[in-house]
């Protein structure tokens, strides 16, 4: 349903993505792994419409979206939880979450979704009136994921899912993502913890220096000797 075809992306004059293609099918969890600075975040930013590809195209439900502004893309059902959280620091947790349901699709069910989020992340409920600028790093990460979910996306893209979360919470979050996926949300995720990522992913792509170098099912990639050596250090 999300079809990225041969995109080239630049920052100014510097090319960062070279001829990248990847597909996400309905109901899948797809992981994007790769070394630091490989271009993973850039790929997500391009899908979200923050960056425009110089070449290639991005299709969503067979329609071009790479020419659209990011708000239109969100409206169509693709949401990104950005690297570094990017919460609205001087708004409360609750206000941040409510803004998650900004797309018209999600507004009607905003209250129900809010309740759900508090169930998934009880710590957020405790801090719902605190300004997110003063949350701890991990709390911010929870808030960011919850805010993304509030928009009831068809495709949820998470950049650095487990960044800064305690081991316990990492597991919790990964489990949550799986659950959300089982309820019908398609997921595209990036995580430095290749181990986690490949375990829950149905399929994965490996990005190196801006090029896709490998792709396959999550579990089978986990067995791949090259990958094990390069990313797991085993």
């Amino acid at each position: 349903m999300l079809d990225i075809k041969n995109i080239d992306v630049f920052y100014g004059d510097v090319q960062v993505l070279f001829d990248v293609s990847l597909q996400v099918r309905p109901g899948e969890i797809v992981a994007l792994v790769g070394a630091n600075a490989a271009g993973k975040s850039t790929t997500l930013k391009t899908i979200s419409g923050l960056l425009k590809p110089k070449a290639g195209e991005i299709l969503f439900h067979e329609k071009n979206i790479h020419t659209l502004d990011s708000d239109k893309i969100v409206e169509k059902g693709i949401i990104q939880v950005p690297e570094g959280r990017r919460l609205f620091p001087r708004l409360s947790v609750e206000a941040n979450l409510e803004l998650g349901s900004y797309p018209k699709r999600a507004r009607a069910k905003a209250q129900d979704n809010l309740k759900n989020m508090y169930e998934i992340f009880p710590q957020l409920y405790d801090r719902r009136h605190q300004l997110t600028g003063s949350l701890s790093g991990g709390e911010q990460q929870m808030c960011a994921i919850a805010r993304g979910l509030m928009s009831m996306p068809e495709v949820l893209m998470v950049d650095e899912t487990s960044l800064g979360l305690s081991p316990l919470l990492v597991k919790h979050t990964i489990r949550t993502i799986k659950e959300i996926n089982e309820l019908g949300t398609t997921i595209l995720l990036i995580d430095q913890n290749v181990n986690y990522a490949l375990r829950i992913a149905h399929r994965a792509y490996v990005l190196e220096n801006g090029r896709i170098v490998m792709q396959g099912e999550g579990n089978s990639l986990l067995e791949d000797p090259y990958l094990r050596k390069a990313y797991l250090g085993i």
């Binding site: 920052y11 100014g12 004059d13 930013k45 923050l50 960056l51 425009k52 990011s70 950005p82 690297e83 570094g84 959280r85 990017r86 919460l87 620091p89 911010q140 960044l163």
Partner: protein, 332 residues
């Protein structure tokens, strides 16, 4: 600095020094002198506003203090403006510590708002206390040309005084910029807390920048008033002086050494020529044009002419993409 650049600078210096002989017209010389003084004033502003990133819109207070101190000392006590100018400078430094120094915890527009208010308060207080004395509202300096009086019988003298003033402040700017202090100011401008974590003495650094800035703004005040030979609170403490100094720096390139000079070279003659060309025809027309040009220049060159030049040099195209990294408080 490489040899070529050095040669160019020296050449520029000599040409400037000869300008009064090349330009016979006294009005143009007068405008040129204004350019020099305003370039000096803006450079002084730039040390605090540009190097330290504290966008003061209250510099009119220092300007006014400098101008008034030397004038009153000269007119009532016969003290030469050369001395009065230094007294005014130190007075401005003292006032700046009382007013701007506590405001340093504020940043950006908030600092600007507080400093505008300070400028206004000082003007109002001045008018109030002036009323309690026998000093007239407007003070005229008698036209008695002599070097000690810092009054000259022609624009030539003013030109060279202003030239020396600008030269001194430029040298100081350059020294500050390329010293440890310059680095510290730059760092605390970009991220105050990160700078503190690296042991940057944030208060002391701003303190120094403020002192230099206030002192030379006051000196500029004296030089300008000696040129006009008349002073009154309304114009000596007018907020438009503060905004003009900031504006000149912005247009030229804030935070650079040459920026304020370039800004003054553009802005002062622009204002003068618009007024000369259009003020006789339809009321307000020259200012309408000025407003439009100001908007266009500021919006088209947000980093000033210097920014434009350096980006041109590096042949770096402006990034068209919207970038997450553009917003200053990057979290991650």
């Amino acid at each position: 600095m490489n040899k070529q650049k050095k040669g160019m600078l020296i050449g520029l210096l000599i040409v400037t020094l000869l300008l009064p002989y090349l330009i016979q017209n006294e009005f143009y010389l007068h405008v040129l002198t204004s350019v020099l003084v305003y370039a000096g004033l803006a450079s002084s502003w730039n040390i605090l506003g540009g190097f330290a990133g504290q966008l003061s819109l209250g510099h009119t207070a220092f300007f006014g203090i400098g101008a008034y101190t030397s004038t009153l000392l000269y007119v009532y006590l016969g003290i030469s403006p050369w001395i009065g100018m230094l007294v005014g400078g130190f007075l401005a430094v003292i006032v700046s510590f009382i007013t701007l120094y506590p405001s340093f915890r504020l940043r950006g527009v908030f600092f600007a708002m507080v400093t505008i208010s300070f400028g206004e308060v000082i003007r109002i207080l001045f008018v109030y206390f002036r009323n309690k004395t026998t000093i007239p509202y407007g003070v005229t300096i008698n036209y008695e040309p002599s070097f000690t009086n810092m009054i000259f019988d022609g624009p030539m003298g003013y030109f060279y005084v202003s030239f020396v003033y600008l030269l001194i402040i430029l040298v100081i700017s350059w020294k500050v910029k390329n010293s440890r202090l310059g680095f510290f100011l730059n760092a605390l401008k970009e991220n105050d807390e990160a700078a503190q974590a690296l042991g940057v003495p944030t208060s002391a650094s701003k303190f120094k920048a403020l002192a230099i800035s206030a002192f030379f703004t006051a000196i500029g005040g004296t030089i300008l008033v000696q040129n006009i030979l008349y002073i009154e609170p309304e114009s000596a403490f007018s907020t438009s002086i503060s905004t003009e100094l900031a504006l000149i720096s912005i247009i030229g390139g804030i935070g650079t050494v040459a920026g304020p000079v370039i800004g003054a070279i553009i802005l002062i003659p622009l204002g003068e020529s618009l007024r000369a060309l259009f003020s006789g025809s339809v009321q307000g027309l020259h200012l309408v044009l000025y407003g439009v040009l100001l908007m266009v220049v500021v919006l088209k060159n947000p980093n000033g002419i210097m920014g434009f030049i350096s980006s041109f040099n590096k042949k770096r195209k402006k990034k068209r993409e919207v970038q997450l990294e553009e917003v200053p408080d990057v979290r991650g």
